[in-house]
Symmetry: C2
Subunit: 300 residues, 2 copies
């Protein structure tokens, strides 16, 4: 299961029951939190996502609607006697802000908290399941997007076939890694006769806050799904430009040019009560667009 659940899809100020930016990427039971606007811990409770399962938090930039909920979440985990390591990634001043707030409260966090500062495009995590990278976006202040690339999975064994060819069970693990099996008589059982290829690893990117910028494309080309902000409808292109944000059609154009399979749009301005027009406008340019709705888990 590789999915993203939206916790907040609004920009700047909370409005119309929409919350500031946060989303959870779930892969094989691990939760990766991206951005943490005010109230994120309450949204996690609302949607029954276990706070204790969050191992990594990525903060795109230090505008409040993307991180004011972080200190509360860090603090609550400690009050709830969290044990596991928590890694937090974000622009450099994040550490100073968190440490200052812990100091004045005379609070010791009870679990290992590692705050990593990011300052350039690079690989942040690389395990046998997943690679997470960050990349710069084009915003008013230093801002990063994050890509989540699932590793190619092992081949699936076809047990009936393996038995038919009399391959001993101890060799099954090597079969899933792609090895052929050589029998005692020297004959070779080709790997593809007894296994089938796994699904290729899926790719998702959170493109953070950004103005329209084709420089993003190199980081998200051919991805299965991207989240791109669409703060405004397309008639407010000038305002979007001025504030380093994007419109519906600009988000859709990036998705189209990057050849991704699916686009989620969010970070809606509090100007807008309803969202139907966001979807309609973006679909004119890129039909595989969906609104990022709070509480919904989108399978990647």
């Amino acid at each position: 299961m590789f999915a993203v659940t939206i916790l907040g899809n609004n920009s700047a100020v909370p409005a119309f029951d929409r919350h500031p930016t946060s989303q959870v990427i779930t892969l094989d039971g691990n939760n990766y939190l991206v951005d943490c606007g005010e109230g994120t811990q309450i949204q996690l409770i609302n949607y029954k996502i276990r706070r204790s399962k969050i191992s990594h938090i990525f903060i795109s930039h230090l505008h409040g609607d993307h991180y004011f909920g972080l200190i509360g979440l860090i603090n609550s985990l400690s009050l709830l006697s969290h044990q596991q390591v928590l890694h937090v990634y974000g622009p450099a001043p994040l550490r100073e802000i968190i440490e200052l707030q812990l100091k004045v409260a005379d609070t010791q966090i009870c679990y290992p908290l590692h705050i990593h500062h990011i300052s350039e495009a690079k690989t942040l995590i690389d395990t046998d399941k997943l690679t997470v990278k960050c990349f710069r976006t084009n915003h008013r202040i230093e801002c990063y997007g994050f890509s989540f690339e699932q590793k190619k999975q092992p081949r699936s064994l076809l047990p009936e076939k393996a038995k038919e060819y009399e391959i001993p069970a101890v060799f099954y693990d090597r079969l899933t890694k792609g090895d052929d099996y050589t029998k005692k008589d020297g004959s070779v059982v080709k790997n593809e006769w007894v296994t089938e290829p796994a699904e290729p690893g899926k790719k998702y990117a959170f493109c953070a806050d950004t103005k329209y910028d084709e420089a993003l494309i190199t980081h998200i080309e051919g991805f299965d799904m991207i989240y791109h902000e669409a703060t405004y409808l397309d008639n407010l292109r000038e305002r979007a430009e001025l504030r380093f944000h994007s419109t519906t059609k600009q988000a859709a154009m990036i998705a189209k040019k990057a050849g991704v399979k699916k686009l989620l749009i969010g970070h809606f301005s509090s100007k807008y009560d309803t969202l139907e027009e966001f979807e309609a406008e973006a679909k004119e340019v890129f039909p595989e667009t969906e609104l990022a709705l709070e509480g919904v888990a989108y399978t990647i």
Copy 2:
């Protein structure tokens, strides 16, 4: 109208749909916010309390559940083009925390924001309507309660009576201030014949986080209503003592010894799913106790 509306009645971490501490004191159309836990701005929206009408915010202490929502509210007011002066009172490091977060976001607040640090018991506001004072409470870190004392109001004119005595309307203002009226023939119309006394000014105090401490009493004696924390049921007195908090019966004993008219209890531990026992226990000691429930406005 002098009332307090509860926005959050939980301690430490949000739970069971209860939010961290915040309450609004409303007097003659002005809103005074006391504490501002995470999500306070969303609670203000939920309960249709206009953020723009908040002129003063008082922060009792720098544990996160009492102020993590402050920076978000300050920021949102600016994004919403707030114009009026906003005064914030709190322990000294509050200014550094707010200024740091505004700096890293490259944000200029668009309205006059005055952050006042409090470091001892004193009068913070003194107008013709209201006196607000702060006083120390006995908590793990520096912590303040706040008292709100409505000024004695002018006497109420009895218009029919004033006409009967042929007092000219230009003198009515002086009647409400208590002056007698002398007619041209030298006869005196006694003030009490044509006015009636106003209600005496009401008094409310927010006693913040505190262990049981009778030193509080001097600041709240005879008040119409106080809010006193009751983090735990009374069987957890030792834990309360250890953590500088109070139990139901301790809160009720303070109310009783201070001779107040009504007690609100809140700051309930996230251990407790339901609150009935809090009310029952406190009432054993002080019958005029009510639970501080979110969204409810209690008239003082």
